[in-house]
Symmetry: none
Subunit: 281 residues, 2 copies
DNA sequence: TATGGATTGGAATTATTATTTCATATTGCC
DNA sequence: GGCAATATGAAATAATAATTCCAATCCATA
């Protein structure tokens, strides 16, 4: 009598569904609970699970035995294994993408490489971003009369998105573009009542650094997004964020920087709304 | 002496990394093991984990206590919680984050929301992108004398990054900006030997649509990135990609579009290099 | 409705596991 | 090199949790 013991979650699930009709009442109850709350089975104790499902611990064990396990503990293994698998899949998938991309198999591989770079960057920044810095930067920017946005070359797309978003939120802002060659004058208008978002990654565009220096000497506070503490931007900044973007085929991802930029922008929008609400009250 | 006990995994991780230098040898050993094998900590018993890490169970408990927990069990909770979180799908997480951010739960929630939106979009496009379309678009663009890049408003940052990347790869290109009001003339220069990358999402910027129509009537092939088959851009395009970007707080992620744009750009660069190598040989 | 078998509840038992303790070793400092 | 403070190992102990057992209950069938 070697009953087939389901070793993986999907088989187990199928088995339970299959026998659902024939199970006694309380056993059916715990079976339904198990399929609805697999995480609880993975982490709970026999007693806690039984309580949540409204049965006795012994019933839980009978359920396990009826499925061919020799006790609750071995049933639980299956639920734990499921979590492990699921969880690793994301990293593994990323791993696989990167491997494939580096194998250089056609244009799909290039695409996969950029996806992998973006995912990695997002993972990374969500681990390393400092909440206190975020708060600080947002309150600093929320107080500004005009927010100047400063970025060139690779970082320029981020600046243009910030400018777009600030505009939509009706927050006064000025994008410092290089086109007309009037940057120095534009920078000259900024006062300590304003603020700057500056973005630059190595190799730092000299113009960005120069303008950041000039503007900080006028006493205008700077929030910088850059890639290391050695960045010249970090020196001039009141608050700065270190964002490590993964690169692929020589082009850095912008996804982490974009996410941070959006969080700053929307954060400022919210803070202003809150402040004006308070003023009215 | 209310030491801050890290309640979530990321904080815990940061704390450990922070103190790494000052930890005694065996404690450091278990610390490293914990960060390398978080799943084992989540599911193992104190004894089994200690054995795998090559230390005594008591060391494991001391490690937990040093971090401010009152024992191994409460440390383990953090690792279990992490698995639960991670395991819930991105969509669910995004949902939860949206709710949290709307509840006014701090600026970190906003940031997390943008990260989740970006991740979701990346997952999505990596599932749905059609390889054949990619190939087709790349060969079309690789043959062009000049690549025109057309996008306004929300999509403009992508266009500017494409232009930057094409420039770096020494591929002749022309960004159609609205600043000088000379777009119509600029569009007039394009010939069937050129090609266009056009990007527009609902609500479609009228100028983009208008220019795309004009340029397609001149017989210039268009590669479009847009968000549905009902998009007016899709009509004019020789090849078009459907990219579904998740949004958060009213702003759409650009990460999927960016990744696709980069893949196109670098793909064209590679194709040209291959072609010129062949010509020489 | 009486009867046997299956099912269930709850407490007793056994097992496993976390924690504590204490002796020993190691390290840093004078 | 000696001393104190700190860290480590190993076993004892306490705690928690799984399992078993048995009486009570339910249910189908005659």
């Amino acid at each position: 009598m070697d009953e087939q013991v389901p070793r993986d979650f999907e088989t187990l699930r199928a088995t339970i569904l299959d026998r659902r009709e024939t199970l006694p009442k309380r056993i059916a109850q715990i079976a339904a609970y198990a399929l609805d709350n697999p995480d609880d089975i993975a982490f709970g104790t026999a007693a806690s699970i039984a309580a949540s499902a409204g049965v006795q611990p012994s019933t839980l064990i009978r359920f396990a035995q009826q499925l061919g396990f020799d006790g609750f503990t071995s049933l639980q293994q299956v639920f734990r294994e499921r979590l492990r698998e699921r969880n690793s899949s994301y990293d593994e998938r990323l791993q696989a993408l990167r491997a494939k991309a580096e194998g250089g198999a056609g244009h799909r591989a290039i695409f996969d490489g950029f996806i992998a770079a973006a995912s990695t960057s997002l993972n990374d920044i969500s681990r390393t971003l400092d909440d206190a810095h975020l708060e600080e930067a947002i309150s600093l920017l929320a107080k500004a009369q005009t927010i100047y946005v400063l970025a060139k070359r690779r970082s320029y797309p981020v600046a243009s998105y910030i400018a777009y978003a600030l505009g939509k939120l009706k927050i006064r802002n000025q994008l410092i573009e290089s086109a007309a060659g009037l940057n120095a004058e534009m920078v000259g208008f900024a006062t300590p009542a304003d603020a700057v978002i500056a973005i630059s990654f190595s190799p730092y565009a000299p113009a960005t650094i120069e303008e950041a220096r000039a503007i900080s000497e006028q006493g205008v506070p700077i929030v910088a997004i850059t890639d290391s503490s050695f960045s010249p931007l970090a020196q001039f900044a009141r608050v700065w964020f270190e964002v490590a973007e993964a690169d692929f085929a020589g082009f850095r991802s912008l996804s982490a920087t974009m996410a941070l930029a959006m969080a700053l922008t929307v954060g400022v929008g919210e803070k202003r709304r809150d402040a004006s609400r308070k003023r009215k009250a």
